[in-house]
Subunit: 212 residues, 2 copies
DNA sequence: CAATAATTTGGACAACCGTCAAGACGGCTG
DNA sequence: CAGCCGTCTTGACGGTTGTCCAAATTATTG
């Protein structure tokens, strides 16, 4: 059959297939987004496919139609989540015209993230820990970590540039520092520590001039 | 009965009770230690009480006799785990007589920890993430975090002292930095990245002189 | 030694899990 | 319109989970 198809027919068939694939993939992302809702609420350990389905407009069967596996679903969630995060500070970086402007823009976004997207970020830390046990997560997690490191590095180099300097430490160390601070602040924030956010901001404000 | 007890009899009763309590508590720790074995292997999400029992010399019923709950068991594990960690570098700190000696001693312990106790440490990161979802964990986790911060601070102040200086950053920032670096190195190490350990050592070796 | 309490065992229980498959639905094509 | 195909629903399955409990065993006391 396929062998007898003319060039034109073949092109039509290929187009139809890619269309179908795109639709399929769009649906996967819809489902992943719904799953992220419950995952952010309960964490990886306590989240079941049925729970995800119940907290969404979908039935639990659909998830098995679009994902081969529970791990497949979670991996898709992680990958999709990545895209949202990595560009968070880019606007601030490109528009800021002075060190102060960059500092204040960065701090404002940092505080807003901690306050409004705590659930998504605790899920990220959860999944990164899971990657230490589950090899299937490692590739995606390491990749996301790399791009977060690059994100921090963009901020640091721009900050240095605005002061005609160069960052004093490596990308890895800088990311480790900010990631560690954010992680600690997030835990304190979730534990209803009112000082978590201001303490983080103070710390970062003090740190920025010393690293460049 | 108890009301009629003489002072001496009462003292005996109290002594007997505390003895029983100590025995009870010693058993709890035995069980917690056995549980840590499996928890380190599988992580929090995949570890069941039956699995814990099967990988140990105990039956699953015992765990319910000594712990009211699964969370109760895990909390006890975390608390017990704490004691092991916090003193890891203390010997190096007290015996080192020069900056170089302290640096090399610290780096050696760091490398050994990463290589030999990866399982226990990934469990720690797992549980710290769980604390973001499960309030019952938070108190213990925050407490451990504080004492780990103090541990790092002891190293830093000693390092500064040996150079007649003072640490340039806060305890929180310093702990965030080292914790972030270690966490990242651990994940890479578990993902069979041969450069994980040497990269960490290089980074720390470069960093130490800059923070004091 | 008897009897009372503490400890341990191992099975029963309901609830839940991930997975699967048979069938229903609806749109598209021939 | 009939038939097909992709999509989705629903219920069932074997297995695992945390919890509980009655009975067995061991230690402690009088």
């Amino acid at each position: 059959m396929a062998r007898q198809a003319t060039g034109a027919a073949q092109r039509v068939a290929v187009a139809a297939e890619t269309l179908r694939d795109e639709k399929f993939n769009a649906r996967r992302i819809e489902l992943a987004e719904a799953a992220l809702e419950t995952l952010g609420e309960l964490g990886f350990a306590r989240t079941s496919l049925r729970e995800i389905a119940q907290n969404s407009a979908f039935t639990h069967g659909v998830f098995h139609y679009y994902f081969s596996d529970k791990l497949d679903l979670i991996c898709c969630c992680v990958r999709h989540y990545k895209a949202k995060c990595v560009t968070r500070y880019d606007e601030v970086v490109t528009t800021a015209q002075s060190r102060d402007e960059l500092t204040e823009g960065f701090l404002a976004k940092l505080a807003a993230t901690l306050e409004n997207e705590a659930r998504m970020h605790r899920l990220w830390y959860d999944l990164r820990s899971q990657a230490m046990f589950e090899p299937a997560f490692r590739k995606d997690v390491l990749e996301i970590d790399k791009s977060l490191e690059a994100m921090i590095w963009r901020i640091a180099t721009r900050y240095a540039e605005l002061g005609n300097k160069r960052p004093a430490s490596s990308p890895a160390a800088l990311y480790a520092l900010f990631d560690g601070l954010f992680q600690s602040a997030l835990l304190r924030h979730l534990a209803d520590d009112k000082k978590a956010v201001p303490d983080l901001l103070d710390e970062v404000r003090r740190l920025l001039p010393t690293i460049c």
